[in-house]
Structure formats: C-alpha cells, structure tokens
C-alpha cells in the first residue's frame, strides 16, 4: 500500500507551509508589538561593555575549513552506505566484501588525515 507521489508529499508541503506560517507569524507579531528605542550604545556590537575594536569580518582558523572538507568526503561515504544497507539482504556476502574494499580505501584516507594531525585541535605535548 504505497500512496502516489502527490499523496505522499502533499502533507510535507502542508507542513512546510504551516511551519513558515508559524515562524513568520511569530516574527511579525513581535515586530509589531515590541516598542523600539534606539541609542548609540545599544546599536554597537555586544562585547561585555568594552568598546568594540574592529568588526567580525576578520580571519579565522583554517581548521574549520578542513573540517568542512573532511565532512563532505566522509558524508558522501555515509550516503553511499544508506542504499547499500537497505538492499543488503539481497546482496549478502558479496555486498559485504565490496563494501569492505570501499571502506578500506576511505579508512586509509581517514588514518592519513589522523596521522597528519588534522583531527588534533590542541597543540601536542604539554
């Protein structure tokens, strides 16, 4: 008993509409209800009462980029696991060993990254 595509996805569309309505409604209501008094201090970025120096458009650690790149690599791997897992009973041991080979390639990369110290966020040795 699998419903047709419009029947399966219409409720999703409905839920998206309702969620947008709730989020938007709340934002608009609070915008209309709250009174606004502005002054220079209130308009400056909050930095614990100290006068801000510069803005937040500076540079930050390259580690965050590395994590993002690694995530793309390994998440693609995990995404491949999903369909494989769903039909796994039909594939049997053949499917297992194919995936083992694939995982070995991915994991070799993972240990390379590990040994290169990409996953270490604190300096080694103390």
């Amino acid at each position: 008993m699998s419903p047709s595509y419009p029947e399966a996805y219409f409720p999703i569309l409905l839920q998206v509409g309702l969620a947008v309505l709730v989020a938007g409604g709340v934002l608009v209501t609070s915008h209309l209800l709250g009174r606004r008094v502005r002054n220079k201090t209130k308009d400056s970025p909050y930095e614990c009462g100290i006068t801000p120096v510069g803005d937040a458009r500076g540079r930050f650690s390259v580690k965050f980029y590395l994590v993002a790149v690694l995530f793309i690599l390994f998440d693609v791997e995990v995404v491949f696991l999903f369909p494989w897992a769903v039909v796994f009973r039909e594939l049997g041991l053949f499917g297992f060993f194919s995936m083992l080979l694939y995982m070995a390639l991915i994991l070799a990369g993972f240990f390379f990254v590990w040994k290169k110290g990409v996953l270490d966020w604190a300096k080694r040795g103390r």
Binding site: E7, G24, V26, G34, S44, V86, M99
Partner: protein, 400 residues
C-alpha cells in the same frame, strides 16, 4: 457515524493537530526542564505564576513577544532575520514523517497516526535537520559580532562532525530493517523473543544495535547543541555564542528550534531503536494495563504529597491533578480508549524518557573542551560507528 473525508481534508486536520501538540509540547518542555533542573540542584524552580508555575511558559511567551525587537545597524539585515526563521521552520518540518502509532479509527475515519509515510522518511529527516546548521551558521555570521562568529563557526564544525556519526549510528538499523520508511522500520520490530523480550532494534538479532544506539544518542546530543556538547553557546567564554546579538522573539525562535530538534531526535530514537509504539511486554503479561497502573501511581503520589504541601493553593491543585491522573488511568479500562491510546502512551513514554535524559544529563555533566569535543567525534565516535556498521553487516550476511 461516518464522514466522507477527502484525503486532503484529512491531511490538513492531521497537520493542524500535530502542529498544535508540537507547539504545546515545545512551550511546556521548558517548564519541565526548569522544574527538573531546579529539583536536581535543590531549588523549587518556577512556582509563582499559576499553580506550580504552570502558567510560567505562557507568561514568558507573552513577555518575549512584547520585548523590543532590536536589529542592530552593524548586522546583515536580511540574513539576520532569515536565520532564526530558517532554524525554526526547518525544525518544525522534520516531525512530519514520524509515525506515532499504527492504523486507528477515529469517528469512523480510518487513518494512520502519522502525517505521511515517505518511502525515504529517514533520509528526509536527515536532510531537513542537517539544513538546520544554516540557521546557526548564518545567524552567527550575520550578527557581525566576534562572539557570534566564533559560536557559529564552532557550531558548524561540531554539527558537521557529529552528523557523520549520527548517520553511521542508524545504518545498522537499516541493515536489520531493510527500509528507509519509518513505518516499516517500526513494523519490523513487532513481536517478542522467547515470549517476553521485545524485538526492538536494541535487542534485535542477529546483532543487537546497542552500540549503534549509543553512537546515535551521543551524536544526537551534539547535533542539538545540548550539554555536554553545548560549546556553541558556552556562556563562560562566548557570552551567548551565535545568538548574542539577538533579542525578543528572534532570540526565542532559536530556542524553539533547539527544543523542536530535541523532540524530533527523541522520537527518532524511539522509532529506530526502541520499537516505536510497541509495548515492552506481550499482552499476555497484562502490559495493556500499564497506563492504568501509572495513572493510579501518579494519582496516589500526588494525593499523598498534597497532605504535606506548604500552601492551601498548592494542596488544592495537587489534589485536582491527582484526580485527573486517576481519571485518565481509569479511561484505559475502556476497550476503545485502550486500543486508540495505548500505542500513543508507549510512544510518549519512550520519547518522554529520552527528553528526560536530555534534561538529566544537563543537570549532571560539565561541558567538554573544544579539542576534546572534536577529538571525541572524529577519533572515537566515527571509528566505532564504522565498526558497528561492518560487524552488523557481516552478522546479517552470515545469520540474517
């Protein structure tokens, strides 16, 4: 009494009921959390607005709605407003595919207790929840505040890292169930081993998914930015993290999103690992009377403790709640009520337990350091998740 409801009318009714329940839960889980944390720390918690502070969430909502809605001039206006909007609407969408119970008949209308059963339900949830990181990352960046930026960066890196483990944790379940449809995953967990051990995926042969569950649970705590993984809003070092510059309802929407995600993740844990709405024992053991016993116990406790309550108002409200609990329990004596609400009772009990676990952990554990957090996610959780997938696959191939 039979209505000829069209499919679309039914979908609208179900969506509205679901949204109503979700919003009420969202509002009241914060009351539960404040009360529980207070009692863990030996305080009373909110107890001024209404009996036992039960009207406190409503007072809070009204206050937040009427507070000054400040958009500072140094922010990127469009993204600053879009971020909380995105976070909360995405968090509310993912609940649509969660199955809360089997097929039921209400007023002559047959329907499933689920908004829609997608054949890729699990994938849909992961797709929507992983988009949630945009709300936080964009909000922190658009704020143009150093603390917000650091909070957002940390949060993005953390959520990306733990999403891997979250997905790996459920692959074992997919191997056992062989479907991405959440309803079919629950159906595959029906029945009992040896006449008493439920065939939930945490006990399911050929390899119980206990490790997978622990990986999922840990990653889920990190995904929802909860203690001990609440680095993005580590108030001791980052003021309030990514929502430092937010005020009024925009600020509250981030919390709404966080709690909605918590609820989704708790429901998903119930569906994937703990058999959804299936009872923990077969009916021959009399488990269908459990709601009755729970109702009676709650009623007894409330009535007993009302004797020791320090104020007349507290005593009266505790007595009223006790009687209500007894009546709800007694309603389960009726056959139609039992058929309709028993699955919901078990689903709510299991998901409620996971929500309680969130709060319990928050009241117990300290926060990780950032290098520990990233190290744990990549060097422990990820390899354990991979190993679990491979071992489960081997077991399924050999004995499945």
């Amino acid at each position: 009494m039979t209505f000829a409801l069209s499919f679309y009318t039914l979908a609208v009714v179900k969506a509205l009921v679901l949204l109503g329940i979700l919003l009420i839960t969202l509002v009241y889980i914060q009351w539960v959390e404040r009360k529980l944390i207070a009692h863990i720390q030996g305080r009373w918690g909110p107890n001024r607005v209404g009996p036992h502070g039960l009207l406190q969430p409503i007072a809070d909502s009204l206050k937040l709605l009427t507070k000054e809605d400040l958009t500072p001039p140094h922010v990127h206006k469009l993204i600053f407003v879009m971020a909380p909007f995105l976070a909360v609407s995405l968090a509310l969408i993912s609940i649509a595919v969660i199955p809360f119970g089997g097929e039921v008949e209400v007023f002559g209308v047959r329907t499933t207790l689920q908004l829609t059963d997608l054949n890729i339900g699990l994938l849909f949830i992961f797709a929507v929840t992983s988009l949630g990181v945009y709300g936080i990352a964009l909000g922190g960046w658009a704020s143009n505040n150093k603390y917000s930026l650091f909070g957002a960066l940390r949060s993005s890196a953390q959520m990306l890292s733990y999403e891997l483990s979250l997905s790996l944790g459920v692959v074992g379940v997919l191997l056992l169930s062989g479907s991405l449809s959440l309803r079919r995953i629950v159906d595959s967990q029906a029945g009992y081993y040896f006449g008493f051990l439920p065939r939930w995926n945490v006990f399911h042969g050929p390899l119980p998914q206990l490790v997978g569950f622990l990986v999922y649970l840990t990653a889920a705590f990190a995904e929802t930015n909860r203690v001990p993984f609440d680095l993005p809003e580590a108030e001791t070092e980052l003021v309030a993290g990514f929502h430092t510059e937010y005020s009024s309802m925009k600020f509250a929407l981030f919390f709404m999103a966080e709690y909605a995600n918590m609820i989704t993740v708790a429901c998903l844990a119930t569906v994937l690992f703990f058999g959804g709405w299936h009872a923990p024992l077969p009916e021959s053991w009399g488990i269908q009377y459990a709601p009755l016993v729970v109702g009676a116990l709650v009623a007894g406790l409330l009535l007993y403790h009302s004797q020791g309550a320090f104020a007349g108002k507290q005593r009266r409200s505790m007595q009223v709640f006790g009687v209500v609990a007894a009546l709800i329990g007694a309603a389960f004596l009726l056959q139609p009520v039992r058929v309709l609400f028993s699955p919901l009772f078990w689903f709510a009990a299991k998901s409620g337990f996971f929500l309680f676990l969130y709060i319990w952990v928050r009241g117990t554990l300290p926060r990780f350091r950032y290098d520990q957090l990233m190290g744990f996610g990549w060097k422990v959780l990820f390899p354990v998740g991979v190993a679990n997938v491979l071992v489960t696959a081997l077991m399924v191939a050999l004995f499945g």
